[in-house]
Symmetry: C2
Subunit: 102 residues, 2 copies
């Protein structure tokens, strides 16, 4: 499985763009991060990606799991986030009658 | 709305127990955390809580959002995690035929 690898130095906005692009293309999204700083950037990226997707009628959530990985021969515990996609009602544009009522 | 407030010093296992209890009781769960260490503990808690809930046929995911809050008169950006509950098929117990096959 392919993972978007997020580090503490990753830009949340860039990662958010990658998440939103994959979700819009209907592709599965999985994120891998090691360390508190990386988890924080990944979660900020998911929050930003929600803002990109909600106007298109899509929302996302993430399901975290621990995973033992090896980095440079050293064993580390990574957090993997599986992204779930939820179809939502897009916000409806204001109708003429709404404008008259105002 | 009530929030489970998680800090960098919170025990992920304790927070996981609180999340699992609320989910089993059918109550809404929302988590608030400020700072990378707190977000990391909260995400670890969600991962642990999944392990408590999956045998009961429930899975969870979390949807992060930014929120401006005031702590001691100072403005801070918190991450709020809304917990979504997903009903899943609980793992079926091994049947007699499985045991014979082994």
């Amino acid at each position: 499985m392919d993972y978007l690898k997020v580090s503490s130095k990753s830009s949340p906005a860039s990662v958010a763009g990658a998440i939103a692009g994959l979700v819009k293309d209907g592709k599965p999204v999985n994120i891998q991060c090691v360390g508190a700083g990386a988890v924080n950037q990944a979660i900020k990226a998911v929050a930003i990606a929600r803002g990109f997707l909600i106007p298109a009628g899509l929302d996302i959530s993430c399901s975290p799991a621990f995973s033992d990985i090896s980095i440079g021969g050293e064993s580390r515990t990574a957090i993997r986030l599986a992204i779930y996609v939820h179809r939502i009602q897009p916000p409806s544009p204001p109708s003429l009658s709404d404008e008259i009522a105002c």
